[in-house]
Symmetry: C2
Subunit: 362 residues, 2 copies
């Protein structure tokens, strides 16, 4: 993996990430394909919506279809027929946020599968081995996420363990086609963030994620901490802010000097009938759209907006027709990817602030 | 509308139907897009799966989105962005089969909307007016369907009223771009079928449907009555057997001299994880497919079969991922359309019986 930074404009960065399965122009949004599928969409559609890299979840893939099926398939890329770059989350976030019953110890975390209750165990080594075995481009280290609010000692302990596990992940890393990124923790505590960044940067990972944000804190806190955290990371390496995917949040993330982000937000909104545009979001089921024969988003050039009307999409959602979630998911991804393309052009042109403000104030 | 019969081979017929929105090579299968959408699929996909004409339901469209929205949209074609031929069922079948509370009188049928309980009324005239107003290529007359078993008097009365309503439908017909087809009734009673056919043929409709079959009778009874009924209809006009859509049933229908058929079967199966092939059907969720890295149907050239494995499709269904229903619906439609294409070629080549037997005995 190599990362080249072509241009900066304020804190915003324009870079290129060369990965085993292709190139990612940054800043880039990564759609979430939790269980080896970005819900409702084919790989061809992900491409045509200008997705460059997708995210999948170690937690979900580990439980289903499981390592043996994915390896027998020839890896995750072949299994799901997406030939572009894939980043997998480590499962740390899922184990700590979704699992009521889990047992953390110094060497890993034991939990019960949400599918069948079977006992499962993640260690820093097993999670890296899994991600390498399924052939992803970027693997994330197993991290310890604390649920906020938490006291300083708990946060400090999570940072310490995350650092320790990052060290072990690095030692466990064997496959050069898979790059391993570390994850900064520290909750909303600046000194803990500093300690986390300092320790992880010393371990010289090829990329760094900012974890533990977008987990329920206020938007202002998130933006402030993201900016603070991004600045702690080395300029020459890619920075990935986890769990961010609204128009406002991705613009802010770019403005903080972040290069990559992921979120289920656009596809989850799409399934629920919430249309994203640069000018705001709206619920397509609202009565006002039943007789609205204009495009979903007049500023969008995606096939949904150039083919169908709001009235038709409203009809699909009001009738619980599965074509609705599919079309709106596509559109929402297209909007975010399109926004990123324009963001990249603006940074290149040195007009980032103007672009950012024009969207945020629309 | 014109229909030309190019070739017959036994009772099987190879024809061409010229409609306002295009040409349909027959025999042809019509996918069902009940509520202005073939569930889960885009119009482009219907085309690429080789669908030539689709069916929609007056009953459902009448209730939602309703006449005013469809007319304001510029008609059903524009609303759903399918530019090929559309046939709409009259709603007779839905009112009589889905509605527990409905009041039949000589002039029409009154029922409560299943959406909001509001009172609704279909008359032969209102149903034709609706179908003409939304601009379909083929409109069906309002018919009276009896639930089987029924006594002779009930069946005779239904046939009589269906004939009377067909007369009124014909008189109500004003738009030359929309062809109106009559519907033969008569249950499983051959003399009632004869009476129905005789009366309707005398009214000189441009096409005839065989209704009241595929409603719970045995497959043998259905095949026997379809053959008997088809032979009662004029050779020079298209014959449409309603509600038929398995591989075996469509082949039998063609063998009976039927030109068109429709059914929710392929898309409903697709949503439920049931894969159709010429060699039989199977449930993709079965354990045997979890590690099966062969194509869904090795004999199929659709994009699902040339892209994904059974293992991946099994994974999607086991994970309740919406991509699964979408992909299997597409494949099932492709299989039926592909079967029809080969059936047409076999009739042209004079090898229909051989083709039919080769599929039925596989």
């Amino acid at each position: 993996m190599t990362f080249t930074l072509a241009k900066t404009d304020g804190s915003a960065r324009r870079g290129t990430l060369h990965l085993t399965h292709g190139t990612v122009e940054t800043p880039a949004f990564m759609p979430v394909g939790t269980g080896a599928t970005v819900k409702g969409l084919t790989p061809d559609e992900l491409r045509s919506a200008h997705s460059q890299i997708i995210l999948a979840n170690t937690y979900h893939l580990w439980l289903r279809p499981g390592l043996d099926v994915l390896v027998a398939a020839g890896g995750l890329h072949t299994f799901m027929q997406w030939d572009g770059p894939i980043l997998t989350d480590s499962g740390g976030f899922q184990v700590f946020s979704l699992q009521a019953r889990r047992e953390l110890d110094d060497n890993g975390v034991t939990f019960a599968s949400h599918l069948d209750g079977s006992p499962q165990r993640f260690t820093p080594e097993s999670v890296i081995a899994f991600q390498e075995a399924i052939g992803v481009d970027i693997a994330m280290v197993l991290d310890v996420c604390v649920q906020l609010p938490a006291d300083q000692a708990t946060i400090a302990r999570a940072v310490e363990l995350t650092t320790e596990w990052a060290k072990r992940s690095s030692a466990a890393h064997t496959r050069k086609e898979t790059a391993v990124f570390a994850i900064m923790q520290g909750g909303l505590d600046r000194s803990a963030r500093e300690a986390s960044a300092q320790a992880l940067v010393a371990l010289d990972f090829p990329g760094y994620a900012i974890g533990g944000l977008s987990v329920g804190e206020s938007r202002e806190q998130m933006h402030e901490l993201a900016r603070f955290s991004a600045a702690l990371l080395p300029a020459e390496k890619p920075r990935y802010l986890m769990g961010v995917g609204t128009v406002r949040d991705v613009l802010t993330a770019v403005d903080c000097g972040v290069d990559m982000f992921d979120c289920v937000y656009p596809t989850r909104c799409g399934r629920n009938g919430r249309a994203m545009t640069r000018k705001g979001e709206f619920a397509i089921k609202n009565a006002g759209y039943v007789r609205d024969f204009t495009p979903l988003d007049p500023d969008c050039s995606c096939f949904v907006c150039t083919t169908f009307t709001r009235a038709y999409l409203a009809h699909l959602f009001r009738s619980n027709e599965m074509l609705g979630p599919r079309l709106l998911s596509y559109h929402n991804l297209f909007v975010l990817n399109d926004l990123m393309r324009d963001a990249r052009a603006a940074i290149e042109a040195g007009s980032w602030q103007k672009f950012r403000d024009s969207v945020l104030q629309a």
